[in-house]
Symmetry: none
Subunit: 209 residues, 4 copies
DNA sequence: AATGAATGAGATTTCATTCAT
DNA sequence: TATGAATGAAATCTCATTCAT
């Protein structure tokens, strides 16, 4: 029931895949309709049968990207019950998603909404949907009272998104490792074991693992 | 008598300022030579008296941006002697630099080297110079043995750079506050006051403030 | 039924014709893409659908020119069996080709390879193909032993090519006449049918030297 | 009396030299005012103190080129009294002049008058002056009655001018040799000892050798 | 669904030339 | 005499888009 109709237009899927890949890798302005057409084996004019404009094409990719991210996000979240563990899991997923060869999510962080005049508003709204996930996540964290939760959320996002610029899939750490470490840096403090007892949480942590 | 004659070419300075501003705000590809020319009150062709190409112009801005950043960085670093305090100070400076209306530094994080084919190599080298600063800084930090310093450095960079996308200079916190907080999140752990004594560092901290 | 569909792209032929004509008549640098576009009733940008750059366009014209010349050359050569007669026929053809309103061959002598940086090498190679024809032709000539065949070949080429600058199709002699005469000048000697003893001078010369 | 005033403006001489060299070597349209200025160590604007425009500059070079050629031509001519020897001498001089590193004469054959709209007429007139020399020369030649003197003149010019494209100063023959040979090809006939009677001239030839 | 051929607006760049100093 | 700075017109080229087929 759900498969047949969707698979009718699998040229369109290939088109979106190619566009996502190029937008994520080279950038929006740097990718031409010709590039996309060539990647999928069509002529530039043919793209317009599927999508009204380059901006529309990006919007479609963006929507798909957010949708995928949201799905992964909620999956990740459901795997853990402790808020702290949830953060780790989500950050691991986030870095993984952003550095994966699946390009849809990468586009979200590579293409800035105001590069796409026709849809700036929609794109911002989509991004917000995407960032919104983290609000809840951070709000449920048992944090010290001095912590500004908004700022923490932004720090988490920034750290994870930045991975797109340096992460090497063949490096010594997996994307999951990176995400987990980022979470630990925040939750356990990176400074050298100060007064002994203070490490309780951290040691807990490690046992859990 | 010795300064004035040299400043016959302060149109070039204005040119660089305008270019930096537009590149940082709209992006490299999104900014046309016409835009820059109009902003500085020249004709597009006139720009080429000063810079051989759009790519060259960007390179000049980038170089200037790195130079400025390096200068501010070393100033910030010299203000503190404790490595921990240094980190705070530097992060505060970093967020401030990136969100300031001085556009040169912002360009460093807005324009990706491979958007500028002619100078990709040089730009990457410049970025490395810029990122290198943080190596030393992080290396001198007294960290728990489990901490991967490279990862920490990348997290710091990502968090600070990301501020360019959301920081509001009229918001309730200054850029300095943001930077300081980011540093604290890492150094003190954000989790809820666990075993009481562990907060020693933090209270120390607050006194310092 | 089988020809028509193929000739959907005869705009490209028209394009090449117009380019050849303008390049041959005005010169390469003196001809703008606008000129060509106007001559063929397109917009300048449209040319780029068919040819990637002005240099590419010239290369296409050049290739076609050499091809045409080679075809005519071999036809001319096959019409005669005596090497001497062959030279006459070929020179007649050569002058005719160069002064004809078919511009492709004219381009070969009007556009100097290093005016076209992108294809200098290819153009030189093409010219060589064109000049090579004459090697064989001259090599098969029964010449006096003192004659430097390379020099003779270059003289023939120079004489014929130069016709492009002065030949008037409405003048009293046809291009064929001109070519035939050029050949006779070389083969029969232009000096007055002279009293045998007249050759004294020549031998003098050689003594003098 | 004639030197001092002339040497006042030797910057101008350098300017003309540089322009002649570049025009002859790269071509008129291919040479920019910047190129010329750089070659002579001025800024582009400074050229306009000496010459009103690029076209004017070319005209000056052209005039100088014709003047030089005429001078050499008449010197060459005066060295011989026999018309036939004169032709040899002049052709030797011609090839030498055209392939020499003194660029003024080369410009005459590299730059086509209608590349210089402002002075097309003057340039044609100058060229005619230059070509006129050869009229007289050829008219005084004792030629067989079947020979079209105009055509012969044009052949001579074409052959000599073409040398600019292939002559190699380090090759096995000097420019003088080349010119002499060209003249001999015409005056002595290049064919091998042909059929007895009609070839009287030619057979003589071979005796001479 | 797709293509081939073009369009048209606008981008970067080039370059002869000008002009106050 | 010469220069530094700019101009302005025009050149080449790019690219999203259109449209008849």
């Amino acid at each position: 029931m759900s498969l047949a109709p969707k698979r009718a237009n699998n040229r369109n899927d290939a088109l979106l895949d190619a566009a996502a890949d190029l937008f994520a890798t080279k950038g929006f302005r740097e990718t031409t309709m010709r590039d996309i057409a060539k990647a999928v084996g069509m002529l530039p004019g043919s793209i317009y049968y599927h999508h009204g404009s380059k901006d529309d094409l990006l919007l479609a990719v963006y929507e798909s990207g957010v949708e995928r991210f949201l799905r992964e996000f909620s999956e990740a979240q459901q795997q853990e019950t402790s808020p702290l563990e949830r953060l780790k899991r989500v950050m691991a997923m986030h870095v993984a998603a952003i550095t994966r060869d699946d390009a849809y999510v990468r586009v979200l962080n590579r293409v800035v909404p105001d590069q796409v005049p026709k849809h700036t508003g929609s794109l911002i709204a989509l991004r917000e949907q995407y960032e919104q996930c983290f609000c809840e996540l951070v709000d449920n964290l048992p944090l010290a009272p001095w912590v500004d939760r908004t700022l923490l959320r932004l720090m988490i996002l920034g750290a994870a998104n930045h991975a797109q610029f340096w992460f090497n899939p063949n490096g010594r750490q997996s994307a999951e490792d990176v995400g987990q470490n980022f979470a630990r840096f925040l939750l356990e403090s990176v400074t050298q074991a100060p007064p002994p007892t203070s490490r309780v949480i951290a040691s807990h942590k490690r046992h859990g693992k």
